[in-house]
Amino acid sequence: MPISAADPLLDVTGLSTGYGKIRVLTGVDLTVRAGEVVALLGPNGAGKTTLLRAVSGLLPWQGRVHFDGRDLAGAGPRETVKCGLAHVVEGHRVFTQLSVLDNLLLAAYDLPRGERAARVEEVLALFPEIAAKRHERAAWLSGGQQQILAVAQGLVRRPRLLMLDEPSAGLSPVLVDRVLVVVQRLREAGTAVLLVEQLIEKALALADRVYALARGSIVLEAKTSEADLPQRLEQAYMTGGSR
């Protein structure tokens, strides 16, 4: 069912999930509109990665998740990718034994054979630094280049929403900026981005809206243009949102 321009692209309501007996998220509400960049912030252990895993189908969940008008109940990662939702996981994990080109071709696994090469070229055109190394094994790339490759993998299927989990982790400041420039370009191209980040200032500089997650639920939702945002965030973090 197609959605109107007013409806959010990603609509999460009352999401709860966990690992075995440990309940991590209890009743999370979150939306992302088409073409906007939303930052998801929060202290360690709050459940940010868990939230992304639930939305992309890597983890079972309870609640309601709608994407592009579709109900994602019971969908696994393969289905969510087909719907236009890409998840770039934490830790710039690429397949080290394969070349850059083969890493990208794998991302195109479900596409018809004829289209695969073309899509991969399309994505490589956006990232000249790894295009130059297309036949090298991913193991030989630097951390930052691997992160860019991981993001490129996410883009092969032309997603409408790209979820990035801490793309700056383990990277030097220079490389971090390189990666975040990519996010900027995506926004300009009309792709929505849900960005989980530890580097608050940089995330706020890029994002349109921000959510803060602490102890399993959303404790703050605001536009990044609001004036007292930094203080409100600090408050939400340090007190755990319960006071």
Binding site: G18, I22, P43, L199, E201, E234, M238
Partner: protein
């Protein structure tokens, strides 16, 4: 109003008085007594053929009872145990027949076979300490094949393919029913002995090694010694079964000891269920008797056993024991609250000696190229709660792992009262009264809550394995002591009402408190906690706070690795903030809270 009344009532009731009687002793003994009666009366209504089957079941159970400790309790996948049966059978037969030495009396031959079995049990079993599960299983299979082939080839001693006659036991055990009672008696003794071990600190330690090895180490349980003892016992008992088997068969050849037999033993235990005596006993009887009900079944018996094994693994991993566990089917209260009783903590810990201060002295550790800890100095004093906080990857958990002996510092040292702690000796920390909990609770799911807590006090038991085997007075004193202390620990943390419940039925928060109770069993000088508040509600965190403060007041030094600001700022006397393996700041909560750099580190600026 209500809470006031409740509190008064609980003050009236003396602590420690609610220890559940050893699992309602009569109810547990009843099935065994029933089997005992049936077994004794069997000759009255069983014919000659069924007498052979019954004797065979007794002989098999003698072996399986010992193997049960290895497979069911310790969780070692020893598939090829028929090798010990073969060894025992041939040793007894050859010694009794006089092929090599002058003929020995059968009882002596049996005793020597037990000794040989013990030694080989140890040889077959010890690779388990070094090898992964599947590898170990394969080696036991290989061993079983080797033994049979040696029996075939060593013609001068074993008669090769022709075989040897089995031993004949003297009156009154030479008749069919006489021999039956002999085997039955031995089977009953084995049941009693292994049941004693199951209800001892050794049995609990075995299940801890199987299901929560890290926690077992932290409680001071030494895996090699314990497994070695169990392999010795199991091998001896299997060899005795071999001698009886040879006598039952009257004549043995190598092809009597097939892999099918090994499979039967192994599957009987798994069908019966792990950590159970009754289950595998019923399983052995079932598997011995089942093929006898229809002639075609005999040929298909191993196929049937395999089908049963598959069904059990996929559908009821707990086996017969789980099916018979009625008391754990009763629903639990749904609104359970954990209500610690801090006043009891002082009683529990009153014998904790003052061990001085625990210090980290310029500790450094790298993994690959990353400096996980980079020159850390820290001091944990008795009677204080010391918080250790920092962003992800700052080295908090690594530090805790260094103190508890899982990693060795590459520079610097961890010192207890000035003396450096030996590196990589995690199972000795318990002896130094350093206890810890884990990020994910490490619990033996199939054991009761009380048994899980009793595991924490394993090193305070005095009875030896043999004393437990025979239920001698010192064993019974140990059990009473451990039980009483564990109940006191459970009451201190507020979980005494759940003492008899299977631990895997509990909620996550309750498991965290159980880990603390287990740690308290050591009467620790230092208690190290790894993110105990994760997954707890605000109410539960408040209760955890009172508990931890009580533990510190009683004289224990508490190290609290945490994320949650509430817990840290409320109860810590002193806080160290780590970032990228170095101390970013250290001081009182008030100092840390307003420290600009700490706030930035948390917010990731």
């Amino acid at each position: 109003m209500d809470t006031k009344i409740t509190k008064t009532v609980s003050e009236l009731r003396p602590a420690g008085a609610n220890a559940p009687a050893p699992a309602s002793a009569f109810a547990t003994a009843l099935p065994f007594l029933a089997l005992l009666v049936i077994g004794i009366a069997f000759p009255l209504f069983g014919g000659g053929y069924w007498g052979v089957i019954a004797t065979r079941a007794c002989v098999y159970w003698v072996l399986v009872s010992g193997l049960n400790l290895v497979v069911g309790f310790a969780g070692q996948i020893a598939i090829g145990w028929v090798a010990l049966l073969t060894l025992g059978a041939y040793t007894t037969s050859v010694l009794a027949a006089g092929n090599v030495l002058p003929a020995l009396p059968p009882y002596l031959a049996l005793a020597i076979a037990a000794l040989v079995g013990a030694i080989f049990g140890l040889i077959v079993g010890l690779p388990a300490l070094r090898l992964r599960t599947f590898y170990f299983a394969i080696t036991t299979l290989g061993f079983a094949t080797i033994v049979t082939q040696v029996a075939l080839a060593w013609q001068s001693v074993t008669g090769g393919g022709v075989g040897v006659p089995g031993p004949i036991f003297p009156e009154p055990f030479s008749s069919q029913w006489g021999f039956y009672y002999f085997c039955f008696g031995l089977a009953a003794i084995c049941t009693w002995m292994t049941a004693n071990i199951a209800a001892s600190r050794f049995g609990r330690a075995l299940t801890a090694i199987r299901d929560a090895e890290v926690a077992a180490e932290a409680s001071g349980i030494a895996k090699p010694a314990l497994l070695g003892t169990v392999f010795l016992f199991s091998g001896a008992v299997a060899a005795v079964a071999g001698g009886l088997f040879a006598s039952l068969q009257s004549y043995i050849t190598p092809d009597a000891f097939t892999l099918d037999l090994s499979v039967l033993f192994f599957i009987a235990i798994l069908i019966g269920g792990r950590s159970s005596i009754l289950g595998p006993l019923l399983g052995t009887i079932l598997l011995t008797v089942l093929p006898e009900f229809a002639a075609p079944l005999v040929a298909w018996s191993t196929f049937l056993y395999a089908v049963l094994l598959l069904v059990i693994v996929l559908a009821i991993p707990g086996g017969i024991a789980e099916m018979l566990d009625f008391k754990n089917r009763r629903p639990l209260e749904s609104d359970r609250a954990i209500v610690p009783r801090p006043e009891l903590v002082a009683r529990l810990l009153d014998t904790a000696p003052d061990a001085g201060t625990l210090t980290l002295d310029q500790v450094a550790l790298s993994f690959g190229g990353v400096r996980a800890i980079d020159g850390l100095d820290m001091e944990i004093r008795p009677g204080q709660v010391h918080g250790l906080i920092g962003p992800n990857g700052s080295g908090k958990t690594t530090t805790l792992n260094v103190i508890s002996g899982y990693y060795a510092p590459q520079h610097g040292a961890v010192r207890l009262n000035g003396a450096a702690l030996p590196a990589l000796t995690r199972h000795q920390r318990a002896h130094m009264r350093i206890a810890r909990t884990f990020q994910t609770p490490r619990i033996v799911g199939s054991a009761s809550v009380l048994e899980n807590v009793m595991i924490g006090g394993t090193i305070y038991g005095r009875a030896t394995f043999v004393e437990s085997l025979l239920s001698l007075p010192r064993h019974r004193r140990d059990e009473a002591m451990l039980r009483k202390t564990a109940m006191l620990a459970l009451e201190s943390v507020g979980l005494e009402r759940l003492a008899a419940v299977r631990a895997d039925r509990l909620q996550h928060a309750e498991l965290r408190f159980i880990e603390i109770a287990r740690g308290l069993m050591l009467r620790p000088s230092f208690l190290l906690l790894d993110e105990p508040a994760a997954g707890l509600s605000a109410e539960e965190i408040a209760r955890l706070s009172t508990l931890l403060l009580a533990i510190a007041r009683a004289g224990t030094g508490v190290l609290l690795v945490e994320h949650h600001p509430d817990l840290i700022f409320d109860i810590c006397h002193h806080i160290t903030v780590l970032n990228l393996g170095k101390t970013l700041a250290a001081g009182t909560p008030a100092e840390i809270r307003s420290h600009r750099e700490v706030v930035n580190a948390y917010l990731g600026g």
